[in-house]
Amino acid sequence: MNTHIPLETLSNWLEDEHSGNHSPQHLLTGLHIHHCPTCTQRLEALQRLERVTNDLVTEEENKQASDSSWLDTMLSNLVLETKAGRSIPLTAHHELDTLTQTEGSVIAAIRRAGESLPGALVSRCRLDGDVEAPRTPINVEITASVREGSSVADITRELRERVRKELERISELNVEQINITVEDMHSFDIEQATKNLKDSPHAP
């Protein structure tokens, strides 16, 4: 028994073997295991434990995935804070009214309008300038991705147009420039899947 590798060392040796920690001591221990039937047997038992551990973890995860009604319930009860951002003033028709819209709602509208265009995905969007001061000129900064094979020039022109129209419709912002940076290209499938996220039966 004394000539064999202590069990704890054997277990740690297996961990090191996985993590690629191959010190001289590790190699020596490995050599011993290789030539010692008892230690080999014990190592194999530890390896079986690893396999059964993986089976257990996979099985329990699959069990949760196979009936996801708990997840539907949980997600439908999940209330996420929207990122409201700044308050953008709107003209009130009565003197005593104070009307505002949130920056977050304007950005969401820009994203929707932009992504109504086939070939475009809006990655990020920012309102640059003092949106809280009425009629102050501001810029809209959009980072977009364009579908492979489509014309970047055409997509950006049409994207700018749709965003401009939407902002005129829903806000009173004094938009000076809409700057679009195309950072990425994407496939048709990725675009469909991304746009389908909203249409999924589980969408909030």
């Binding site: 069990l7 949760q64 990725i190 389908n196 969408a203």
Partner: protein
């Protein structure tokens, strides 16, 4: 045993975690939900193993989702979102375990597990998995937590050490002894 279809199944494309993360950080709740839908089964089975109760696990998950939504912009590498979510789950679960009143009876995970298996599953893998689930119950509480965090949660020694307020070396030692105990229980090993 088949995982539920991903929300993007209609087009046969699985959106990368990185894309969903980027959109979620930009405020897209649909993308966030798709991300959660993908990783929640792993998070839930992990939380059940850690807390020993489905109800507690669901509390842990609710809180984890909300925190993940708030903090997603601090995640540096979107490809690691799964392990990041598992780490958040560990923290919330450990918090819950630590504040739980002593002597409150909890579900027995191993029993629940055995009952919910279909005969077909049991026949294939049941004996080995069942033996492991049973052996796990013989471990001291802290060793069980360490084993679950490492094997189910995929946590590093460092993470486990911080959560349990012990040294990484102690985590490594306890984990090795836990594995030996499991093998002994399962295979009738003499030590």
């Amino acid at each position: 045993m088949t995982p539920s279809p991903a929300p993007t199944a209609s087009t046969g494309v699985e959106l990368p975690d990185a894309l969903l993360c980027a959109r979620a950080v930009a405020g897209d709740q649909y993308a966030f939900q798709a991300l959660i839908r993908r990783h929640a089964p792993a998070m839930r089975s992990y939380a059940i193993r850690l807390t020993g109760s489905t109800a507690d696990a669901d509390d842990v998950l609710q809180e984890t989702f909300i925190q993940a939504w708030r903090k997603l912009d601090t995640l540096e590498d979107a490809a690691k979102v799964r392990s990041w979510l598992m780490t958040l789950t560990s923290r919330k679960a450990i918090d819950l375990i630590r504040t739980r009143k002593p002597n409150v009876p909890i579900d027995d995970v191993a029993e629940t597990h055995a009952k919910e298996q279909t005969p077909e599953q049991s026949a294939i893998t049941g004996s080995e998995i069942g033996a492991l689930a049973k052996a796990l119950k013989t471990l001291p509480k802290q060793s069980q937590e360490i084993w679950v965090m490492r094997e189910v949660g995929g946590s590093s020694y460092q993470e486990i050490a911080e959560l349990l307020d012990i040294s990484p070396a102690s985590v490594r030692g306890k984990l090795a002894r836990a594995r030996i105990k499991l093998v002994q229980e399962m295979e009738g090993w003499d030590s």
